[in-house]
Symmetry: C2
Subunit: 417 residues, 2 copies
């Protein structure tokens, strides 16, 4: 500081990102584990890449808005332009293009990367979030959309959502192109048409209709879902799997790279009527690498919107620490004995913390309780002599005498390990 | 490109970082899971933070070399100076300072962040690596070092290391300070003395001795371990826990923030005689935040050195995919039936992938085999009629007829789920 006065360093994280204290980490891990388990149930394999990518990767395909204003891009000390990935799709495309000839198809991949966008932080929109990416590669048929949308539906249920808590809307870009082709001079105006359609619900009807007329020189006309056979097949197959979808002719999705079916999952809660996540088909994925084409259907689901959804629908799990048992000590002379008992219990599979401070037993119990550790026992003279311990369950204050050998089985039975 | 010719985009990752294809991810997850499980056995709770931190966080305490030349630091679009964290300690210090008054002590925390250093990539030194950080806060006594070094030892064993595969060396900065205090004008020269000591083994003896004489104006004299009672207590307590340590009077460690005991784990393999990881006590952690002092002992263990260690000692686990079963289809008309069977099996806990392509059964088996999926069965007319399936274990080619209800239990018994 110029003033010469030592400034106190801030304890705040960087703007728009989060600190994860153990209670936050518990929720974060719950969300990521639920994503992971569900994706693996469907045979998806995990991959990952670095958050640092060459900046060129995003300059070919991502929507313009993101490249020009929303990425973290900088020059490294070796004069390379580097970007913190704003999404995972270009990274997986790069990885697949690098091994295009060796791929076993159909290939199912998932990843849960953190992704960065430079934007004004607001509810559900932070500068860093984690995003489950599930992608099915190598399938041109509608079977791919059927599986991916089923997976999206099962994910919602894995988070405890009931059928009427969310709605899955689908649309087809091919159908939109077929319907509005006559209005376009060439394909390059199509993204603009999609963006106008996407805003329809947020505009006054008259404003939308006159904007349409002005831009495309013809009155707006509705899309007919029946004009597109794959949509019908998709709806029927999903109905058979007990997955409900709704046709939404105005659903467009932000990225330019979708090529046909797109879908989006919405929260139905009156106070949280928002898009939760979505995806679609993007068959031109590998074009920028000049590699043999590879059809793809996938989606991305962000952790922040999931967290908001869980809160809105009262589905957030209660915090449980990853520690099963706290060993208190009668005084500091029993710390060594407590650590030895802890080692014995760890070998039986228990997760055990030991007091290491000169504190009264009552204060040690308070520490364990503050950490939400479910079980506690005290190590002292009598316990060492008899090798029998008073095992206390803190939530119920239930206490029982347990010999050394029975501590682990007793706790494991109770916590269902 | 200026030439106007469309350049083919590179499929290489950014320099010095890694792509994780499913086989790489398997190893990565194995390493991280082993770290996680071992830390949790000792009652350590997981926390995390963003890889982006305010640059000021690193300008107060980290060793000069790192701040000035080795960080990724850039200016964001809002004119904030941001750094990709080069280590986790400043982040955890920031988080603890923010909640200093609410902490339940002793507090055990772990995290496995990715950290970045701008340096020339070489064996065991990449620009991005993951690093287990285990820290025990709030304990001034040697009990903290005993626990942390025991945890470090158990981690090595959790990776399958035998006692003679590695060596734990310890030293004390207090002891070094007491020994060499008379040579120093003031404390500011101490880091330089540590760095010279640290290089002793890499220098010719004569060169070291004359460098020492020249810099500190007195002949070099050896340190006596017996001069420091905590070192003796540490050695005895660890011996009781079957943890072997060696006193190394030249062990200094890179970071300036250590305040007393430091330790480092070395590989003993003749072709990989390198430092694996290390740590120590750093009691002045919260000084830069002007918060109440909090004693701390901890270490950081990187995934790249662990991977090298596993390779050197032939401890790398064989790849197993996260998919249990592949459902082949007699032809594409059975894809719907196969997906329905898959859903039934997923509810029983199996992880199931389904063929979605118009390929011969033999080619589908090749796909499953290439993905290393252990079990396969074919869905066709006869199977749907009898609801009995030929379940094949690909590695042994063992094949048996199994009714629908028995598929999941049969596989789970075999893979030990």
């Amino acid at each position: 500081m110029e003033s010469g006065i030592k400034r106190k360093l801030s304890t705040e994280p960087y703007k728009g990102v989060r600190d994860f204290y153990p209670e936050d980490m518990f929720v974060h891990n719950y969300i990521l584990e639920t994503m992971r388990e569900t994706a693996e149930r469907f045979g998806y394999l995990e991959y990952s890449a670095s958050v640092l990518e060459p900046a060129e990767l995003y300059e070919a395909k991502t929507s313009q808005e993101i490249v020009s204003e929303q990425t973290y891009t900088f020059i490294d000390r070796g004069e390379r332009r580097v970007t913190l990935r704003p999404e995972m799709t270009p990274s997986v495309a790069r990885m697949l293009a690098g091994r295009r000839r060796e791929l076993a198809l159909p290939l199912r991949l998932y990843s849960i990367p953190n992704v960065f966008r430079y934007e004004r932080p607001q509810r559900g929109r932070l500068r860093e979030h984690w995003q489950l990416n599930c992608d099915l590669f190598g399938v041109f048929g509608i079977e791919a959309e059927i599986e991916i949308i089923t997976l999206a539906d099962r994910l919602m249920q894995a988070f405890g959502a009931k059928k009427n808590d969310y709605e899955i809307r689908v649309n087809s870009r091919t159908l939109l192109m077929n319907t509005y082709r006559s209005l376009l001079k060439d394909g390059s105006e199509f993204p603009e048409l999609l963006r106008l359609l996407d805003r329809k619900d947020k505009m006054e009807s008259d404003t939308f209709l006159s904007a349409w007329q002005e831009r495309f020189g013809a009155p707006f006309k509705d899309v007919e879902a029946t004009d597109h056979p794959p949509l019908k097949e998709l709806t029927e197959a999903l109905t058979e799997r007990n997955v409900d979808i709704t046709f939404d002719p105005f659903l467009a999705r932000g990225f330019d790279y979708y090529t046909d079916i797109v879908f989006e999952v919405f929260d139905t809660a009156p106070d949280n009527r928002r898009s939760l996540f979505g995806g679609g088909r993007y068959d031109r994925l590998l074009e920028i690498f000049d590699a043999e084409p590879l059809p793809a259907v996938g989606f991305g689901m962000g952790d922040v919107t999931v967290r908001d959804f869980l809160t809105t629908h009262n589905l957030m799990p209660a915090y449980r620490p990853s520690t099963d048992l706290f060993l208190a000590t009668f005084d500091t002379s029993y710390i060594g004995a407590a650590q030895e008992l802890a080692e014995f219990l760890r070998e039986k599979g228990l997760r055990v913390a030991v007091n290491l401070l000169d504190k009264k037993v009552g204060d040690q119990v308070k520490t364990a309780d503050k950490l939400h550790i479910p079980f506690i026992l005290v190590v002292g003279e009598n316990e060492m002599k008899t090798q029998t311990f008073k095992l206390k369950h803190l939530a119920t204050t239930d206490e029982r005498e347990v010999p050394r050998e029975e501590i682990a089985p007793t706790i494991q039975k109770r916590i269902g390990a």
